[in-house]
Symmetry: C2
Subunit: 190 residues, 2 copies
DNA sequence: GTCTATAAAGCGATAGAC
DNA sequence: GTCTATCGCTTTATAGAC
């Protein structure tokens, strides 16, 4: 039977959970050890740079997941609507209907942004560019496509914030539905 | 000349700044002391309950400010458009065009929500109710008014998240403008 | 009301045995 | 690769003088 933790990558889900729930400052090595099942020795073996390197690895891992699960479908799909549908399904599952925070969004709000600023900005820029590209290929005017893509990514972040604050997953799903409708309307109007 | 720090309330702005920038876990008494100009003795004199009581006081203070500066204008104004305009101006100033986080939104995302859940939910419920009420009085159908109010409050939170992540205040202001236009359109359609 | 000293606990990180 | 022991520092909170 394979070991539960045989390489760095196996520790990333547990790390992400702790960072999401407690923030960078609140994520102590004790909490991280409990969530990953790794002792201090193993943690520093996999991440010689300590907490900072763990955080960088988690951000890169999440960005990578979005790259293949959310951004890539836009480039592949002939019909932008297929990419949009795939994005909304993936977003609803990943953020657990708004009950799980976005690490990039949350860390961008405070001083934690400072060390990770480029990674945070890069994630959102990639997301907006992928969506805007699909809209443009669907015939939406370039400037309008970018504005609309910003509105949708911003709208998703807001829906996470509000639906988690109110502990109401249905609010998140309803907002995703309205954002989808706005994208479809723009595509139908060309 | 009046003392700079003569009562609890004088410490709240500094406290709010530290909590916003560093989160609850990251807000150490050293940072708090530096931001407020108060020593440990004074801090525990004003807030016997320690950090927890400081956080509760800050949240109550911010909610109170929004009550008088944002929510109240809705009830007073005859024309809902006047309330909307006042809200957007106050929001842009308070959140510094999205470069300053919303403490309620940010704390709702992680485990810090647990101890302050009711205060966080109450703030957003009040905001949505005040806006929905104004829309209803303006003739917008009740269900639509609530949905629209949720969209706007959610949209503002998303605009803070995205425009801070991208360090782009103009994105925040442009989003506020589009949200205002949506509210005006709904009011014009009745 | 503000100060300093201090307690007790937890922190991130390191070293070395295995 | 995992463990334990430990370093040096910071944390929250308290006590007592002024």
């Amino acid at each position: 039977m394979a070991r539960l933790i045989a390489e760095r990558a196996d520790a990333l889900p547990g790390l992400a959970e702790v960072f999401r729930d407690h923030g960078y400052a609140g994520a102590s090595l004790s909490l991280i050890g409990a969530a990953t099942g790794l002792g201090r020795g193993s943690l520093y073996h996999f991440f010689p740079g300590g907490k900072r390197e763990m955080a960088e690895a988690v951000l890169a891992d999440i960005h990578g997941w979005f790259e293949q699960a959310v951004f890539a479908p836009f480039a592949q799909a002939d019909d932008p609507r297929a990419g949009i549908d795939a994005m909304m399904v993936a977003v609803d599952r990943y953020f657990r209907s708004g009950q799980q925070a976005c690490l990039f969004g949350a860390w961008g709000l405070g001083a934690t942004r400072d060390p990770f600023g480029p990674a945070i900005a890069g994630y959102f820029q990639r997301w907006i560019a992928a969506l805007a590209d699909a809209l443009e290929r669907g015939g939406v005017n370039g400037e309008h496509a970018t504005t609309l893509a910003q509105d949708v990514v911003s709208g998703i972040q807001g829906a996470i914030t509000l639906s988690r604050a109110l502990a109401d997953p249905s609010l998140f799903r309803a907002t995703l539905g309205r954002l989808t409708a706005r994208l479809y309307t723009a595509l139908a109007a060309v």
